[in-house]
Symmetry: C2
Subunit: 506 residues, 2 copies
């Protein structure tokens, strides 16, 4: 990730004369030394700096210390210690999150689950796998491959991101249109509360008594409990998958084609869109075979039995053609299919390759307005004299415009911020939301003030208090306080960001 | 429902001299009269008695009053009034629930949603319907039928039960093995908190910021908020559905066949089991065409395109034959298919027809142990000298043994209770749970003490407090207090009911 830095970096060292903080730090390190071996405890600035940010490197903070436990007992003991000392804790997986959710707290501990990387069980009969939170997303599918099964949600970072992080952020991916988000593919989560108690959410059974808090835990951005074990659903690999690359001479036509495919009653296995600047950036980098003359391309995947795929490819092709598509290329083998997808999955690194920095947006809009939004973004490029490349999870209207800029140029960064704000306002105006799948973290706290009412935010805090009454677990992320919203309201509420009547709530 | 009565029935009249309660009752009725027209407010015992119980008629209590609002504004005003007066409120749909969840409170108000029966929108493009909570489950599918769509969850009571009640209990049905429970088919719930504030859970978008509390709301047994609007997912009617009636000469073989079908990677659209006493009771009543010589029958449904159905029926038939099935009958037309299902759906009324009373259990077990459990129930029938007829949602291991007895014979009722307790202990011992889909209500409060730890129950109460800090909305249902569990622990904890290590938690 290339994104703007805040200078100068904090070293995490406590200022001279701050006796209380120093005392707490000493007590924490002494306590942790009783729980963990030396190698599993980092506290020198040179060791803790690598943990200063997540994938959204715009926000940085070095923590007081980093703990790397490898047993659940150690996690319980660490949390009990921090609870007793009132030290805030930020859980961390691979740190690939994009909203500052895993950004440390100066006077806090980072609790890394990096050593929890065992696959405990792959059961082909129940089609489940039980894994530790530090297992990489793709490693689950690798382990299930001998049984012809796989784990469906596939974030672009799946080679690096971990299932614990996926649970915390409710991660999606290019195939989630058909196969669902993390919340639809996780059956059970074992976790530890800030008070050091083990709790289990969900089960392998279809229903169980008690409040169903599994979905609340998934996507809770590390605020309710620290994940120590995850049971995921595995699904059979389709017999065949083929992807269409459909080319358009106009971005708006491409956007409208997305709505037309869904309106025809087709749920493609993947439905992604990239505009010309995006394909140009990617093609140079990974040689995906994209049509560089097209103003926009759609990737539409079909999977199933050979008969189902043939029938669906034919139906999708007809709809795309009727929507003004100028060219259709269907992948002829698995290598070609993976090459088409490799371009989409490498769009972010490709952007990093052609620009010193980029600012990734994560808004959602109703599918029928994709074309309109793309047209508006073109106008904004002229207004702010900045380039923007567009990659979309088009099928579910979740778009990721990447605004390109040079962070060393203060004026460019300022224009990029305004550009991003304009895009999100346009999303809300078109009936969408300011965040799709990257989470709220610290980045979108202010947006939560306009999206949720005070009583709704109170309910969120109430649920958090049910698990973490002392507010020590990843505090000040994801849900803004009343005070913060009051301040934001005075400064920033603009016409376009007032709550939309159709906005989702809980 | 025929089930044991508690005598004498309370009339709901306050004892003479209870001035505080009388005063609160007067204030409540006066306040309600300001909000509702006369016809929408019931307070005379002859009017309130019909609300004294839900489908589990073993528990009865006449409420102080019954309110029948027909607008959300009235619901808000009623809840604000009750909150101000500290009057507990029990929301009620059609009252078909089976665990006493809608049982009134003597000093409380029943808030009936019976008048909320408008279907607000059926949208074939987004495949959703927006309905009021008092709409009957089957009425949604009827409204969607012109678009060739339907609402999948189909509780046996679907002709009478309402979608608001389905949301509160997370209702299943014979097709939920393939199409999911209520929680998998509801996208958005609009509801009113005890403090009279409107809150919205979920959205039509695949993900949204904030904690995902929709799943917690679904199945919360009316304890978090009063449902006023539900957006459901509709799915296309399959081109064809066919059901196999498979006959077995031994219940254990039938049970093992269920596990074999699932292990073969088949997810039937329905997979139900009935034993010989159940088919005998049903056949006399609805003439479903069941094989009365079989020790057990399975109903296995396949749906999809004609080709898919033909292929799946063939595969299922092969597995059933290999599992020792003695006869296979495949429905040859829609009328025959519906006749086969009508027997299963009428099993409860059929039991009421052959016995003065019956006690319906709702345990779950891993599918592989179905045969073992059925064998054990046969032994218990001899031990307690009572008959039990068995109907199962076999595909997901949720069984409903119906213990037949005569409630006017105290000894028979006592034996029925012990019989039921033995069945649930056997479920837990075999790795299952004491309740599948009928909810906890008042009936299974004690079981919650053994299934959940104090800290887990604390978290449930914490979530409830986030919505209803005064604990006025359907209080004392579904989650037992610490004191109740302590008392139960002293009296009742037996070997078989100690928490199983694999028990589901949240």
């Amino acid at each position: 990730m290339n994104a703007p830095h805040e200078a100068p970096l904090s070293t995490g060292a406590t200022p001279a004369g701050n006796g209380a903080a120093d005392g707490r730090r000493s007590a924490l390190l002494a306590g942790l030394a009783q729980i963990l071996p030396d190698a599993a405890l980092l506290w020198k600035p040179e060791d803790t700096v690598p943990y200063e940010c997540d994938g959204l490197a715009a926000y940085r903070q070095v923590p007081m210390a980093v703990a790397l436990p490898d047993t659940e007992e150690q996690v319980c003991a660490i949390l009990r210690l921090c609870h007793r000392l009132s030290v805030p804790v930020v859980p961390r997986g691979a740190g690939t999150s994009l909203s500052g959710g895993a950004m440390p707290i100066a006077e806090g501990l980072v609790l890394s689950l990096a050593k929890f990387k065992r696959i405990l069980k792959v059961d082909p009969h129940s089609r489940t796998a039980v894994v530790q939170p530090g297992v990489r997303n793709l490693a689950i599918s690798d382990a299930a491959a001998p049984f012809n099964l796989y784990y469906a949600p596939d974030p672009s970072s799946q080679i690096a991101c971990t299932i614990g992080g996926n649970v915390s952020e409710n991660s999606g991916g290019v195939h989630c249109l058909k196969y669902g988000l993390t919340v639809h593919n996780v059956l059970r989560v074992r976790a530890v509360t800030m008070e050091g108690e083990v709790v289990v959410f969900g089960s392998e059974a279809p229903d169980s008594p008690g409040l169903d808090l599994l979905a609340a835990m998934i996507g809770s951005e590390g605020m309710l409990a620290v994940v120590t074990e995850v049971t995921v659903r595995l699904i059979p690999k389709p017999q065949l998958a083929q992807v269409i690359m459909a080319c358009f001479d106009d971005v708006e036509k491409g956007g409208n084609a997305v709505a037309a495919v869904i309106a025809a009653g087709i749920i493609p296995a993947g439905l992604e869109m990239m505009d010309k600047p995006a394909t140009a950036a990617v093609e140079e980098f990974v040689h995906a075979g994209y049509d560089l003359d097209a103003a926009a391309i759609l990737l539409c995947e079909s999977d199933g039995t050979p008969e189902e795929v043939a029938e669906e490819i034919e139906r999708m092709s007809a709809v795309l053609t009727a929507s003004g598509c100028t060219r259709i290329v269907v992948s002829q083998n698995e290598a070609e299919r993976l090459r088409f997808w490799s371009g989409r999955k490498n769009a972010f690194p490709a952007a990093g390759r052609i620009s010193p920095d980029y600012y990734c947006m994560d808004g959602t809009i109703p599918r029928k307005h994709i074309g309109t939004l793309l047209r508006r973004i073109e106008e904004m490029e002229r207004k702010y004299a900045l380039r923007c490349i567009n990659v979309f999870h088009a099928g579910d209207g979740n778009m990721h415009p990447l605004i390109l800029f040079d962070g060393s140029d203060q004026d460019e960064w300022h224009r990029a911020e305004l550009f991003g704000s304009d895009i999100l306002e346009a999303c809300v105006e078109l009936g969408g939301t300011v965040t799709g799948e990257h989470g709220v973290g610290v980045e979108k706290l202010n947006s939560m003030c306009v999206q949720f009412s005070p009583s709704e935010r109170d309910a969120f805090f109430g649920v958090k208090a049910a698990f973490d009454p002392a507010r020590l677990l990843n505090p000040d992320k994801a849900i803004p306080t009343l005070a913060r919203c009051a301040e934001y309201g005075k400064m920033h509420v603009k016409k376009g960001l007032l709550p939309h009547p159709d906005l989702p709530r809980f």
